[in-house]
């Protein structure tokens, strides 16, 4: 499914009919995500943060989905979707603090960078094991319905996750219980190095869904308006009691799997270049330009604003101290049991690992 045509015009049969302001809002969020990604990758290269998993090339799939979900719907992330969280107004400073694991990191330095969450933004927590979040999404959706609430759940996962135990469990439960879930499968071509053709013997991810009784649609994931349209339909179906929808968002990961990855090992420059031509930001820009509502100057200004914002956040994050050592021992249980009280005291009163850098 495409909405934006080659020349930037919209397919009239699928046009979601968004106002130009909403389209520009979408575009600006995609650009902002990319600027932040770019900055974080540089910081990682300079050794200032440990790790980053970006969304280069997948901004339409992520932000288009987030934009189509209603404010009170839940987002269950995989790990590449911080753009969706920021779309919901999550403070950038908090995100950058998290990337540094400093004292203001909401995670208190307990996790690698890019493991975000926010109850206020109805955004569950990122977990590294693949696919484990998918049944959570079904459970949240079942609970919402059980409590008589009109809340849907959009759950992100990649093409690789469709091979996981939990994917099958979750799809099956969603089908059986007709849970109000929208499955958002970002098919970006690779699970780290593994091509999607080797991930599964079927041609598309979408054709897995009917086996669970879940309707599926395959969408151009680099076409923000197509994503918006498809996810919106999924939300409407779920909200109306029509059960789950599986959406395969066809996109391409232009960057590495993470900053630890070197994609040059497993794919060619030509392949990447050909996908650059399908850049989701350029695609949407083309449409906006056609409506004559944006300019290069505005574009440049916006990018500069975003970069300045993230740089300022970085400056502040680098000035903040580390989280307290005792934070290591809280939140294991609602109340701290005796053994953790004891271990906390042993740790705090005991000898410390040297954390000064080893000089060669």
């Amino acid at each position: 499914m495409h909405v934006i045509r080659e020349d930037g015009s919209l397919d009239p049969t699928l046009d979601p009919g968004l106002s130009i302001d909403r389209v520009i809002g979408l575009y600006k969020a995609m650009v902002r995500t990319r600027v932040i990604d770019d900055r974080l990758e540089k910081l990682q290269r300079q050794g200032r943060i440990a790790f980053h998993v970006g969304s280069l090339g997948e901004e339409a799939a992520i932000i288009g989905s987030a934009a189509a979900l209603r404010e009170h719907d839940w987002i269950v992330p995989c790990y590449r979707e911080v753009g969706a969280l920021l779309w919901r107004g999550y403070p950038l400073q908090r995100y950058v603090d998290h990337m540094y694991g400093n004292a203001d990191d909401p995670l208190r330095g307990r996790q690698m960078p890019d493991h975000t969450f926010s109850r206020a933004h109805r955004y569950l927590s990122v977990s590294a094991p693949i696919g484990t979040q998918i049944p959570h999404a079904v459970g949240v959706a079942m609970a919402a319905r059980a409590r008589g609430l009109d809340e849907c759940v959009g759950v992100f996962f990649g093409d690789g996750a469709t091979s996981s135990n939990d994917f099958h469990s979750a799809m099956n439960f969603a089908g059986v219980y007709q849970a109000p879930v929208v499955f958002l499968c970002r098919n970006n071509g690779y699970a780290i190095s593994l091509r999607v053709e080797q991930q599964t013997a079927v041609q598309t991810m979408a054709e897995k869904a009917p086996a669970y009784g879940v309707p599926a649609v395959r969408v151009d994931g680099n076409d923000a308006l197509a994503v918006w349209q498809a996810v919106g339909e999924g939300v409407r179906r779920a909200s109306g009691g029509g059960g789950p929808t599986f959406i395969e968002l066809m996109t391409y990961r232009l960057g590495g799997h993470s900053t630890s990855d070197d994609p040059r090992i497993y794919r060619t420059k030509d392949e990447v270049e050909s996908w650059r031509k399908a850049d989701p930001i350029d695609r949407l820009r083309k449409h906006i330009d056609r409506r004559d509502a944006w300019s290069d100057d505005l574009d440049e200004d916006w990018r500069a604003v975003c970069d300045a914002e993230v740089k300022e956040c970085v400056r502040r994050a680098e000035e903040k101290p580390s989280p307290e050592l005792r934070d290591m021992f809280t939140d294991v249980y609602a109340e701290q049991p005796w053994h953790l009280r004891e271990q906390e005291a042993q740790c705090i009163e005991g000898p410390r690992a040297r954390d000064d850098e080893e000089e060669p």
Binding site: R45, Q46, G47, F51, G101, S260, R315, E318, E357
Partner: protein, 440 residues
Amino acid sequence: MARLDFKLPDIGEGVTEGEIVEWFVGVGDTVVEDDPMVEVMTDKATVTIGAPCDASVERLCFGVGDVARVGQVILTLESEGASNVDSAQRSSRPPATAVGDIQDHVPGAGLFTPEEVPTRNGGGRRGSVRPAAAAKRRSLRTSAESVGQISYFQAKPLATPATRRLAKDMAVDLRRVRPSGAGGRVTREDVRAAVRGQMTDDKPHAQLEEREPLVGMRRKIAERMQHAKTTAAHFTFVEECDASRLVDLRARLSDEASRRGVRLTFLPFVIKAVTEALKRHPVLNAEVDEQTNELVYKKYYNIGVATATDAGLMVPVIPGADRLRLFELASRVEALAKAAREGTLSPGDLRNSTFTVTSLGKRGGLLATPILNHPEVGILGVHRIKDKPVIREGQVVPGKVMILSLSLDHRVVDGHVGAAFAYDVIETLENPERLFYDAL
């Protein structure tokens, strides 16, 4: 301007080093933040590292093809406001990466030195005993062997933690407790029995032996003797003394003494002679303070009188003996001896002597080597007066002879000083009228 040492960061998956593939900057170049500076190839990826801030390049530390370790400075920049970056770089030792912080070196890795290879002739040893461990085992054995007396265990005694606790509380050395428990274990009952002195022994001669624990007074005496003997440098000076006049004098005073209810022995005369001599030889009325390494001269003369009792040797003290008259001394000596035998001495009666006299009694032998009443530096053993031929004015005549055995601490008392003191005492005893010079 601030100098920034740019260190090779861990650019992913815990890499430890990277090869410099290409420099995009040279010394003196100015770079704008994010300008590519260098391309580095690690075992995981080849990445371009951008400038952390606007700066000029001061120095490149590696050439193309060189391998830099993570954390090594690869180039130096001059910039404003670089400190922030610097600290960020320092503090951001990555807590983890996608697959964990894989390091090629951990502290203590050197522990695992190559195993000793079997030698051609030596028949090959499996593994090797590390010298430190061997030494430790040796020292363990030595310490067990060095335990004197009976030791039932080569090294550690076998006992449960609770029994060890009991033994510790009761100050019992488990190695010396005869084990009666299964597998040669010391039981709680064994420890209690050891304390009660009811140790039994099933060795061959056990029936012919009797065991008595060194407890109470006996243990105290043993400790004190041991301490005196191992601390002071004992030497003993022996001389005889013609006690004829002393015997004579005592005989003449005895009536008056008994009239006053005093039993007059020779000991008060000796004590009197000693206190007078001590005043003339102050080093004999002193003690060595081992803590401060000082010699402490005492200006008071408290004379200890060694007394045999059923419980063992005791040394009751006559304080201010130099100020007592002869009969007063006599009655004090008698009272103390009685109290000692009856066990009614108070702790105060046993403290603070400055010099000790020991009367060796009827079976005092020819001579003796008394052990000092530590920390005193002198003890005088007084032997029984015997009838012996003496030569007086060229004639062999029957005489009354008393032997004095004087032990001294050679650390502080030289031989001639000790001898002078001895002759001083002898002089008085041979001419007991000297005792009354003060009354003249």
